[in-house]
């Protein structure tokens, strides 16, 4: 860049590394930040540092939390016999928004993908099995992504869990609610046909 002071340039570069932030946005954020009051700046930097320092993985379900055990795992009102298995913590927020699911979660932090060198050892699979072995789980819902990797992960875990006498289910695939059939992409329609229910 050259036309900015070195310190500002560094800030722009650091912000520009963040996902979804391009050069223009990084500049705008940087200018906004240098115009903040000292108080606001310390609050922001403190928030950054403490978030990084305090956010850990829940010891039970491995979602991100700032406590040893996350709020969902700690909540006695949640159904303790059902575990919903997801690929990452963001998936939990998506499911929680529905307010329909009242069980527990388990975050794998990835999916099996040999091309990326990710095997069962690299995701929280063993932890899931231990967890099922230790507690009285009746059903495990596989809510991994509808990709070949997500499917492989669900099948792999399903094969390990079923022999333990636990019911294993997989989320259905189909037409989004409120969507017109004619605008649904072909592969989703095929899956919806395969997963059709009697009414």
């Amino acid at each position: 860049m050259g036309y900015y002071p070195k310190t500002l340039e560094r800030l722009v570069l650091e912000l520009g590394k963040l996902p979804g932030i391009g050069e223009k946005s990084a500049q705008r954020l940087a200018f906004h930040i240098i115009n903040l009051s000292d108080e606001e700046i310390s609050s922001l930097s403190e928030a950054l540092i403490s978030a990084k320092a305090k956010i850990v993985l829940c010891q039970k379900c491995f979602t991100i939390t700032d406590k040893e055990i996350c709020d969902i795992c700690e909540n006695p009102k949640r159904d303790q016999e059902t575990i919903c298995v997801v690929q990452n913590s963001r998936d939990i927020f998506a499911i929680e928004k529905t307010r329909e699911y009242n069980g527990l979660y388990h975050v794998l932090h990835g999916a099996i993908s040999p091309l990326d060198g990710i095997g069962p050892q690299d995701i929280k699979a063993r932890e899931l099995l231990l967890r099922i072995g230790e507690s009285d789980i009746k059903e495990v819902i596989m809510a991994t992504n509808a990709t070949v990797e997500g499917e492989a992960t669900a099948m792999y875990l399903g094969n390990l869990i079923s022999p333990l006498g636990v019911k294993v289910t997989r989320l259905a695939k189909g037409i989004p609610i409120g969507a017109d059939l004619e605008y649904t992409d072909e592969i989703t329609l095929i899956k919806a046909f395969e997963g059709r229910n009697e009414i």
Binding site: L115, G119, M155, I187
Partner: protein, 371 residues
């Protein structure tokens, strides 16, 4: 389905050209290197979203230009559409009636069947050419095939990668089962599509070949795969596939790749009961390739209720009078574009209605006969 007007701007050797073809047969005539194939390529590109000659879109732009633009007025199911394609900084973009569309959303609006000299390879060369032919043609009217193929390739890549990893990390073998299951599920769907299609293609291509050979030759196609030996085993295909994978596990791990599945499928083309690839003459191979390709006209019609636009690049010069006439008679319901260096329809014996000749000289098009 037909094309009413084609506009090309900064495309290949066309500076700014507008062509208004005939609804029937269009002869694109011109000396070599004037831009006849470029015109064919433009229509192919608009219909399929890629070029059959260039893998890099930037190659399609005129020398000294970075971007090109093409625009076609097409009539599909009686409705007029404007279909445009442009490239900007090496990226392609498609517009349907002025709105930007993803490439796979323009499928079905304007479809072409192309025959070009390279298509001889379907008969003459290795199995990959025949798989490519099957994949392209089936995707043309079965959109889901494209997705199944894409998934199959992903699963195959993952599985091959896993087979290699098992070499140095044997414990990973526990995850092979799930990839086997997915390979079987998706692979069987792919094979079913191919079997159904080949069944139809076999009938149609033999009809055409009979016509081209004056009834002297029969063409037959059979599906070759390494899972089932005959179609009677089709109902058992999943179990057989599983058994194959189980019994070849060690070998697959030591090779680091998947041996069984539709990725090694082939189609055997026989003329009078003999393998055309090995024993066919040049002329027989050419007729077989033409029959395979032009079968798409009727198959496409059966599946969609419309005839596609037929593009024949540089095949007429090699054919005798009888075959030329037979091919022309197949095209009587379609709009067709035929490139050649001379007026092939002018045999001095009439039957010259529907003759529309577009002469191409150095990237300029001129209609010289319009009947």
């Amino acid at each position: 389905m037909f094309i009413e007007e084609l506009k090309l701007i900064h495309y290949r050797n066309y500076e700014n050209e507008c062509i208004t073809p005939h609804r029937g047969i269009n002869i694109i005539m011109g000396e070599n290197a004037q831009g006849k194939t470029n015109l064919i390529e433009a229509m192919f590109f608009l219909s399929r979203g890629y070029s059959h000659r260039a893998s890099n879109v930037a190659e399609l732009a005129q020398w000294d230009h970075d971007d090109f633009f093409m625009n076609a007025r097409v009539v599909s199911e009686g409705v007029k559409h404007t279909l445009s394609a442009k490239s900007h900084q090496g990226k392609r973009q498609f517009l349907l009636d002025g709105k930007v569309k993803k490439r796979d959303k323009i499928n079905g609006i304007f479809n072409t069947i192309l025959f070009e000299p390279d298509d001889l390879k379907i008969v003459k060369e290795g199995p990959d050419k025949r798989r490519r032919f099957l994949n392209q043609e089936i995707s043309g009217f079965r959109p889901e095939y494209h997705y199944i193929l894409r998934d199959y390739e992903k699963i195959l890549n993952q599985r091959n990668s896993l087979l290699k990893s098992i070499h140095y990390e044997p414990s990973l073998i526990t995850t092979l089962d799930v990839w086997d299951d997915q390979l079987i599920q998706t692979g069987v769907r792919l094979m079913n599509h191919r079997i159904r299609y080949l069944h139809r293609l076999n009938r149609e291509a033999n009809n055409l070949h009979q016509i081209l050979s004056l009834g002297k030759e029969t063409l037959s196609l059979s599906y070759l795969n390494n899972i089932i030996d005959s179609l009677e085993e089709l109902s058992e295909i999943k179990n057989l596939y599983k058994k194959r994978l189980e019994s070849s596990r060690e070998e697959e791990i030591s090779r680091g790749s998947t041996i069984y599945g539709p990725h090694v499928d082939d189609m055997i083309i026989q003329i009078n009961g003999k393998d055309a690839r090995r024993y066919g003459s040049q002329g027989q191979q050419r007729s077989a390739a033409i029959s395979l390709k032009l079968s798409q006209i009727e198959i496409y019609y059966d599946n969609t209720g419309e005839y596609p636009v037929v593009l024949l690049d540089d095949i007429f010069s090699e054919l005798d009078e009888h075959r030329r006439k037979s091919i022309l008679s197949l095209l009587n319901k379609t709009q067709a574009f035929i490139t050649c260096t001379e007026d092939i329809l002018n045999d001095g014996k009439g039957e010259q209605e529907n003759r529309h000749i577009i002469e191409i000289v150095q990237g300029k098009a001129q209609v010289i006969i319009n009947k």
